[in-house]
């Protein structure tokens, strides 16, 4: 059982700009080892960007991200790739390799990072695909799968190496209720049984809260609220309440920053 106060990932004073837009402003958070941490927030708050920063695909303008004590962005290219072999990431689009079958996709990390004999690779692939309900689709190409199936196949690939740390980018989007239930169960079981550290970025509040141990709510580049799911559900902060209940009106803006609507409609046309 993982210790409670053991930090796996530490994000300190992170600032990140995309062109003229500030995505993160002095953001700090910690992700405990062996727990499921959910990162939630309105769309456009840079949740996916945060995962890419943790994975070292983007470089922060300020601040640091430490995984197991190593500053991700100070590592050499070789060390960074070694670190990534211990991470699994489920991309929003699935990102299956289109020139390979589903089974080859799942086998890919195993073939690259291990010297396991082909028969063992095959068995492992079948086990992972069985876990996501796609054993029968192993010989299909990614183009033949639906969006939800592609994401489940990608999940099988992400867990192929049993990584220490898994990042899920919108795992529930586009899933039917049955697949959703299976995925929630799977993520939760993977975490409890193998002690993976999991980070889930999602909009599906109820599903995510049902398995998360800790939740960060991010808005405007900062941590708006954090705590156990119950704490957030019971929060009286109007911004937190608005998000958790999904209300259109409230202090959290629904609109992308824009000049006044009235001015644009009736003002001087430039």
């Amino acid at each position: 059982m993982a210790q409670l106060n053991d930090t796996h990932i530490e994000v300190s004073n992170l600032s990140f700009w995309r062109g003229e837009r500030k995505i993160f402003d002095d953001l700090s958070l910690t992700i405990p080892r062996g727990k499921i941490t959910a990162i939630m927030g309105p769309s456009g708050t840079g949740k996916t960007t945060l995962l890419k920063l943790i994975g070292g695909q983007l470089t922060p303008d300020q601040g640091s991200i430490r995984v197991d004590g190593d500053n991700v962005h100070a590592l050499s290219r070789r060390r960074l790739f070694e670190l990534r072999a211990k991470m699994g990431m489920l991309f929003q689009s699935g990102a299956l390799f289109t020139d390979m079958t589903v089974a080859e996709n799942v086998a890919f990390p195993l073939r690259v990072h291990t010297d396991l004999p082909e028969s063992v690779v095959r068995d492992l692939v079948l086990m992972k695909l069985n876990a996501v309900g796609l054993r029968g689709a192993s010989e299909l190409k990614p183009a033949e799968l639906s969006g939800g199936m592609a994401r489940r196949a990608a999940l099988a690939r992400a867990i192929a190496l049993d990584p220490d740390f898994l990042m899920y980018d919108e795992p529930f989007a586009g899933q039917d209720p049955i697949a959703m239930g299976v995925l929630i169960n799977l993520i939760s079981r993977l975490n409890r049984a193998l002690g993976h550290t999991s980070v889930i970025v999602s909009h599906d509040i109820q599903e995510t809260l049902s398995i998360a141990d800790y939740v960060y709510l991010i808005s405007d580049g900062k941590v708006l609220a954090q705590g156990a799911p119950d704490q957030l559900n019971g929060s009286e902060d109007p911004r937190v309440e608005q998000f958790m209940k999904g209300r259109p009106d409230g202090p959290v803006p629904f609109h992308f920053p824009a000049p006044s609507f009235k001015d644009q409609l009736f003002g001087d046309s430039q």
């Binding site: 994975g55 695909q57 990534r84 990102a95 289109t98 890919f108 690259v112």
Partner: protein, 260 residues
């Protein structure tokens, strides 16, 4: 005026930065520690896609260009009674100029654009990012095999183009127009030198192949990952490659054959 200068400055800076990124891509994909066991199957696959699948267009174009050369050469030379030199003319123009240049132009259109679009789509569908997150360097897995395949295929395609072209020329000049085949081939043999002509043609095609495939992989890797971005990158590959081929051809020809 200030705005114009600002725009000019920004554009120049962007271009310089792009050249820098292209250099970085080249060094990362080529200097990175080679892994032959992983590289070989990938390279063979790319040789097939980039080289073998370009064969049809190269062979057909080579044949027709050789036939046209034979016909044009004959109609000009026959006025001076030196139609026996058609073989020499066809072979020299093909080996020195047309084979490397036309093959490279066709290669940019057929293989270069495909490579750019493929890598651009991989970027747009997050496949490149996914390779990185799995701990596999896309420079070695995706970029390097394509670079090598282009570099290897281009001179071979160019040689095939020249051979088929010469055969096309002989079809027209010897079999159709009735030039004595002995003088057609003998003149060719006497005038085409291996070290001067054939070797220089091969050097040209190596340079062109390298430039085209470098532009193609760079544009794919550097494109904006949207459908519009990919289409622009594909266009840029063909335009930049064609201009680079024609410009470099003049430079190389001046260096190889210019008497100064």
């Amino acid at each position: 005026m200030i705005q114009f200068l600002q725009k000019l400055g920004a554009k120049t800076l962007n271009r310089v930065a792009a050249v820098g990124r292209a250099g970085q891509l080249l060094s990362q994909s080529l200097i990175a520690k080679p892994a032959p066991m992983m590289m070989l199957p990938l390279l063979i696959r790319q040789l097939y896609f980039i080289g073998v699948l370009s064969l049809v267009i190269i062979i057909v174009s080579g044949l027709f260009i050789g036939m046209v050369l034979g016909l044009q050469g004959y109609t000009i030379l026959v006025d001076y009674g030196s139609e026996q030199a058609v073989g020499q003319m066809v072979a020299l123009s093909l080996v020195r100029e047309l084979a490397p240049v036309v093959t490279a132009l066709l290669f940019a259109g057929r293989a270069g654009s495909a490579v750019t679009a493929e890598i651009g789509l991989m970027k747009a569908t997050e496949q490149l990012a996914c390779y990185e997150m799995i701990g596999v360097d896309p420079m070695r897995r995706i970029i390097a095999p394509r670079l090598w395949a282009g570099f290897i295929s281009m001179p071979l395609l160019s040689m095939i183009f020249a051979i088929v072209g010469i055969w096309g020329g002989s079809l027209v000049a010897v079999d159709w127009l009735g030039i004595f085949s002995g003088s057609f081939w003998a003149n060719m043999q006497a005038s085409v030198s291996f070290s001067e002509d054939v070797l220089n043609g091969v050097i040209k095609s190596l340079v062109f192949g390298f430039v085209v495939i470098w532009i193609a992989v760079f544009q794919g890797n550097d494109c904006v990952p949207t459908s519009e971005g990919i289409s622009q990158a594909t266009t840029r590959t063909v335009v930049y490659s064609s201009l680079a081929i024609l410009g470099l051809d003049f430079l190389l020809t001046a260096m190889m054959f210019g008497d100064f």
